[in-house]
């Protein structure tokens, strides 16, 4: 990296060989505080969690001994585990698409150069600043079957009432809608920032060629945004896989387990069922899934950019 032009050599090379030890010391010295927290609150728990998954550990203190992979065997035969994993994947699929598309539409609209930018940004992004509990209170109230605003609107235009959070066929979609409202502003900002970075010359050249706004969007904006889109989709998938808060607060996983995500199942086996070892095993199965998806994404994006 040191294409030494006129500039002096880098500080490191100025030093005598004896200062090598000093560099090592100061390097690890600067890293030490982070490393302490990193080792104690991330590396240790992730390793210890794996150990726990091989034991029958429970909050009641029974059976701390190693039981091999029995927890994993049990989990793989556990219909509730598969169902919750399926719910998580289902949510991920049906939430990622609108969370990316709506964000793109919002950013594209603003990028046309609407007046009062701050007003749009505020209204699209503000929900992202709310805690999940606030969002859940808002939406539980709006979804209320008898007193809710949404059913009031539906009956007003002659449609039947919907039991939003109480109908197993609808509940997950209700959660997707709430989640869309809550977090789309984040993706919107990322898209907006990326759109601003597209050089204006591209558009000027295109409009001299007589390309209209639509043509420009599809032949300049979208292609230029491809790397951003890939990143947003990846981040969104990983975020959606961690779904817990809204579901736990709005439906508690119901009705009949139809919305219970895998993180809630981990939480419940651990803290309601007191089975820490079993719960740790399910955590690791979930972790394995995330690693597999991340690696797949990595390979796909690598191939694209190669």
């Amino acid at each position: 990296m040191s294409t030494s032009t006129l500039s002096r050599p880098r500080p490191e090379t100025l030093r005598k060989p004896a200062s090598r030890t000093r560099s090592n010391l100061s390097g690890w010295g600067f890293a030490a505080p982070f490393l302490f927290f990193f080792l104690v609150f991330l590396v240790w728990p992730i390793l210890y969690g794996f150990y726990m998954s091989l034991t029958g550990k429970s909050l009641t203190g029974a059976n701390d001994s190693l039981i091999g992979f029995a927890n994993y065997a049990e989990a793989l035969a556990d219909a509730d585990m598969w169902r919750s994993l399926g719910n998580t994947l289902y949510f991920t699929v049906i939430s990622t698409v609108p969370l990316v598309l709506v964000a793109l539409v919002m950013a594209a609209l603003l990028n046309i150069g609407l007046p009062a930018q701050w007003l749009w940004r505020l209204s699209y992004f503000a929900p992202y600043l709310l805690a999940s509990t606030v969002v859940s209170l808002f939406f539980t109230w709006m979804y209320n079957p008898q007193l809710g605003l949404i059913n009031e609107f539906l009956t007003g235009i002659g449609l039947p009432r919907v039991a939003w959070l109480n109908d197993p066929n609808v509940a997950m979609w209700a959660i997707v809608i709430a989640t869309l409202w809550w977090t789309v502003g984040f993706n919107f900002l990322l898209y907006l920032a990326a759109m601003q970075n597209i050089p204006a010359q591209h558009y000027e050249a295109a409009s001299l060629d007589g390309a209209g706004a639509w043509r420009q969007f599809f032949s300049i904006t979208l292609p230029q945004l491809t790397p951003t889109t890939v990143m947003i989709v990846l981040l969104q998938i990983l975020a959606s896989l961690k779904i817990f808060d809204q579901v736990y607060q709005m439906t508690a996983g119901g009705p009949g387990g139809s919305t219970r995500p895998v993180v809630q199942y981990i939480f419940e086996t651990g803290f309601t069922g007191y089975r820490l070892g079993y719960s740790a095993a399910i955590s690791y199965i979930f972790f394995g899934l995330i690693v597999v998806i991340s690696v797949m994404q990595f390979v796909i994006t690598r191939r694209r950019s190669a």
Binding site: R8, P45, L109, Q117, F138, A205, F267, V291
Partner: protein, 300 residues
């Protein structure tokens, strides 16, 4: 596609602030009017939950629970629900708990991340590559996977039901280390060389040269971490049962069962909980948006 433009009007250059849009000097065409209409439609949809919560919070409980769903209640608007929530609720306490835990998390994260990022960016030390790889790889670990062992660890350390249990596990942000390192990499080394010749220590160079030049990125990271900590639910929910230590999001979860069908009070509580960050956002909109946009892609 780039048919070379003969004259390139320089007037169109984008402003320095990448988030201000090319300002519209364009006329109102049909297309633009349609765009404004669609944008406004979405904005209204996005504001309705706030508006409805506000309308409900200012109703009497009787009106809020009346089967006749209406924006304008028969008994008029009243701040009674807010007064009630403030009097017998714990919202001020929860807000304070959220504030100091989030502030502590942000402060610790900034200090330890900036230090290690500086080492990774500037110091040649043995094992640096390995350290870098391990930190990057750890970005993949989803926090929910850690809750079981972390809870057990906190029990063992006797930290459950203390604020430390909330704070300590939330200070590790590998992605933010990476964001800071990338920023430090771009600071010209020449700026430090004079100081090195004068015999300044690493720590002095870091605090007096690097940090002052890094204010924008430090602010961005601080904003990102603070919002995350302020709104975090799962871990604080697990780490404390002590009613005096609950953070705002966790405390709010308890009122649902406590207030039951007191809809006006539910909405008043939710709005009070939402208020601090929304107010901060109104004042620092530009910085927050920039901060989220710069750190966002490095991600969660």
């Amino acid at each position: 596609m780039a048919t070379p433009t003969l004259t390139r009007p320089a007037s169109h250059a984008t402003t320095a602030d990448s988030l201000t849009i090319r300002q519209p000097r364009k006329k109102l065409t049909v297309g633009r009017i349609a765009a404004i209409a669609v944008a406004a439609f979405i904005a209204v949809l996005w504001l309705i939950p706030f508006a409805w919560a506000t309308a409900t919070a200012f109703k009497t409980e009787t009106d809020a629970a009346a089967p006749d769903v209406t924006w304008l209640p028969p008994s008029g608007f009243t701040p009674e629900a807010f007064v009630k929530v403030f009097q017998d609720g714990n919202i001020p306490l929860w807000t304070w708990n959220s504030l100091y835990t989030s502030a502590a998390i942000t402060a610790i994260t900034l200090v330890i991340s900036a230090l290690v990022a500086y080492a990774l960016s500037r110091i040649d030390f043995r094992g640096k590559k390995v350290l870098m790889t391990v930190i990057i790889a750890s970005i993949i670990i989803p926090p929910p996977v850690l809750i079981i062992p972390l809870f057990y660890q906190m029990l063992a350390l006797n930290l459950i039901d203390t604020s430390w249990a909330i704070i300590l596990p939330q200070v590790i942000h590998p992605a933010m280390v990476f964001v800071l390192k990338k920023f430090f990499d771009q600071i010209p080394r020449e700026l430090e060389e004079a100081a090195v010749m004068d015999g300044a220590s690493r720590l002095r160079i870091f605090t007096q040269i690097i940090l002052p030049l890094s204010r924008p990125i430090l602010a961005a990271v601080a904003i990102f971490v603070f919002i995350g900590a302020w709104n975090n639910f799962l871990w604080p929910f697990i780490a404390t049962n002590d009613g005096n230590l609950l953070t705002l999001p966790v405390g709010l979860q308890t009122i649902k069962s406590a207030y039951g069908i007191q809809y006006a009070q539910n909405m008043a509580s939710a709005l009070l909980a939402a208020l601090p960050l929304i107010v901060v956002f109104l004042f620092f909109q530009r910085q927050i948006i920039k901060g989220v946009a710069t750190t966002g892609l490095a991600g969660t």
